[in-house]
Symmetry: C2
Subunit: 320 residues, 2 copies
Amino acid sequence: MAVYTHVPAEEMAEFLTRYDAGELLSAKGIAEGVENSNYLVETSTDRFILTLYEKRVNEADLPFFMDLLDHLAARGCKVPRFIADREGRRLQQLSGRPACLIEFLTGISVTEPKAAQSRAAGKALGEMHAAAADFTGTRPNALDLRGWHDLARKCGEHFDDIAPGLGKRVAEELAFLDANWPADLPRAVIHADLFPDNVLMHGDEVTGLIDFYFSCTDVRAYDVAVTHSAWCFDFDGSNYHPERAAALIAGYDEVFGLSDEERAAFSTLCRGAALRFMLTRAYDWINTPADALVTRKDPLAFLRRLDFYASADPKALLGA
Amino acid sequence: MAVYTHVPAEEMAEFLTRYDAGELLSAKGIAEGVENSNYLVETSTDRFILTLYEKRVNEADLPFFMDLLDHLAARGCKVPRFIADREGRRLQQLSGRPACLIEFLTGISVTEPKAAQSRAAGKALGEMHAAAADFTGTRPNALDLRGWHDLARKCGEHFDDIAPGLGKRVAEELAFLDANWPADLPRAVIHADLFPDNVLMHGDEVTGLIDFYFSCTDVRAYDVAVTHSAWCFDFDGSNYHPERAAALIAGYDEVFGLSDEERAAFSTLCRGAALRFMLTRAYDWINTPADALVTRKDPLAFLRRLDFYASADPKALLGA
């Protein structure tokens, strides 16, 4: 929620001369993308997002993200393309950082999704999966089951500072997932972070899927589970909204769909998704001072989801 | 440099229905205005800045700012108007904060002003002073000579943590200003903070004067001195640029101008301006932890300006 690298306006104007992108009229640092510096840039011809990659994004991953979004956009997905300069370069350096000029998409991110909006999100996810089917790029998921074990080890005894008994709960859940994680399901490139924040909408229509910086190769249905955990609960995980879940799955089924094997494993995939966000939030919680000016996201909001998934009727998760 | 109050998109869309302002298409929290939360809002008809006032702006002052900007805009100054809703209200409540919808102006803020840009800024300041001449609102300047004494007392012994001998230097400067401050010069409503950050430009043209939240009633020529201290040095105060100063004063003279009495006092006014920003920066420096995520502005950048003003040929400040 901050601009980390300040780009002087003169330097930005000069940067834009590399592109067929008009002349700089306005640039506002925007509070988006916890891990990057972003500017909303207006030129005499168009609007763009200018992103400077800070240390948490690995520059070596950028070509994967660029190729993926080009691939998806070419197949009609509403995703922001990376803009190439006159010499065809998409990746640049600006103010000492890797930097890209990116298509601007309008739309707002809903906070309390309605069923129709959940359905549209599910459909957009299905369209993305269909479009990614012939994408040949790959990127390992650092936050897979093995990565969750690593995170849990790093949090260690500090778990119980967040909630008494949390360390034991995590260990038990990891043991369950080790025994039950569906290793044989189809793998593909997934978004892996399709929260409402990352879906731009106009009314009940999706106008853009954004923030692909966690996208990676993993169990495809796990992407549906992540989206389920993000869309079908109140923000703090306190209430489950079955009508959103039914709509999300119906939207996904409309254009892509889950196989019987994926449906059978869906409850386990959702437990994994809830654990993944609980763990990264717990890690950030433990490693962020309470008086820091960044908002710490509550890990317990995803512990509540995990508890729900562990006790819910698996069929009910799919809206049956 | 942050959005303090997060407004859910649904709430923002509902808020906009009070206005003839189209339908919400996009909203980005922008990293502007250290003291408020700001969103760049796009609707089906226009773009706006949505500002939520955080605790450092006194709600009781808002009508003064609104009336001033209306007055200036009506006289052709390029300042952002406050937008009234269908019932004529400009001041609203949103997410528990006083909030206003404000005209969006394009333009970028230069970092290293060229002489032509300094001239345009001086001219815009002169136009503002001309337009404000028949404005009847008043607002005391909390950061006047008495306010500087208060700030210096609050910083007290901590001055010397910033630089050895700084406390003594401040006391001597305050004694000089007590003895020499020109109390009899014309007073008017001034901007009081016209840094390059607060001037939007397109090339060498001013497209907007913004951020009037320090505007107040004080010695009018002091506004020229503040602008001089902000535009005529390198960022860190290390180099004075006489060509910018000459251009700034020439631009101001073109439309408004300084009297002989104001010229005679200008050096003292500049010393006051430099001290004012040194003191507020020192106060923030002392009261902001070194590891906080906000950037602390260096008080010494204005001590260097103060040293320059205290030793420079007064005539040279005016480009003579």
